[in-house]
């Protein structure tokens, strides 16, 4: 893992997709680690009452996975300058999320790259849309 320099980055270039099956155990662990007790993420009866077949992952868990994909591409968590998403559809426990992205712009003078991002589930739901991130590049003289 090493940070990217402007010469490493091409507009239109793709990030390596990150695919992860998100289990109920994982969602329950995230609820505990993040301190979010909302039962829609852990109680099947509550999830069904809201029309979901099973508990749903926290939007923030899906954003964490997307952020990992960006940081893996950029060469570390500290390279991620910003990230934003719309939580368009919930990810159901047991489903698989695939995070993808491409380079939208590179600002060599500022040492920044802009990414467009999204995440789909294996049921075809667009889980995260309108994703954007900016990444700090390094100068390599």
């Amino acid at each position: 893992m090493s940070p990217l320099a402007p010469a490493d980055v091409t507009v239109g270039g793709a990030l390596a997709p990150l695919t992860r099956t998100v289990t109920q155990d994982q969602i329950t662990a995230y609820a505990a680690a993040a301190g979010d007790p909302n039962p829609i993420h852990t109680d099947p009866d509550v999830a069904r009452a809201f029309g979901f077949p099973a508990p749903i992952a926290h939007g923030m868990l899906t954003l964490a996975i997307l952020t990992e994909a960006v940081a893996a591409w950029a060469g570390g968590y500290d390279r991620v300058a910003s990230i934003s998403v719309r939580f368009s559809r919930p990810l159901i426990a047991g489903d698989t999320i695939t995070c993808t992205g491409r380079v939208a712009d590179v600002d060599v003078a500022a040492g920044m790259a802009g990414l467009e991002l999204e995440a789909l589930s294996d049921r075809g739901d667009r889980v995260l849309t309108n994703g954007r991130a900016s990444v700090r590049l390094v100068s390599r003289d």
Binding site: Q26, Y30, A33, A34, L61, V80
Partner: protein, 137 residues
């Protein structure tokens, strides 16, 4: 129920300690059955723990705002990471309601949040859009 007069309400969550053990539990939960990513000590969205949930949680429980929690949707989120948090450091988090609008029977509540070091140096800032039921149709 929410009301545009709630714009400007601020919530404080001082003294958030960024603990390595907590960040490691968080990173393990994000990884699930995959190996934990070796990308640094603190995942960026650990800001959920030291900034977002401690402040949004207060908004959820503010009886004067009266958000209907059943079916509350976190619709959008953005973060800007000004500085990488250092394990063991303490930051102060704040949030502010910056928008309240009723559309098609639902409340659209926009909240900004930030966390900074005791020196005032910013660590993270962010913006959340929450959508809740109970607005006039």
């Amino acid at each position: 129920m929410p009301d545009p007069t709630h714009v400007g309400r601020r919530y404080q969550a001082p003294g958030q300690v960024i603990e390595s053990a907590g960040a490691a539990r968080f990173a393990a939960a994000v990884a699930g059955s995959d190996p934990v990513a070796a990308l640094g000590p603190i995942p960026p969205t650990y800001a959920a723990v030291y900034c977002l949930f401690p402040t949004l949680g207060q908004i959820f429980l503010d009886p004067e705002v009266g958000l209907e929690l059943a079916g509350l949707v976190h619709a959008e989120q953005s973060f800007e990471f000004a500085a990488a948090p250092v394990p063991g450091e303490t930051v102060d988090a704040t949030a502010e309601i910056v928008g309240v609008a009723a559309r098609r029977g639902r409340w659209f509540v926009t909240v900004t949040m930030e966390a900074h070091r005791p020196s005032g140096e910013p660590v993270v800032s962010g913006r959340a859009l929450l959508i809740a039921a109970g607005a006039p149709a």
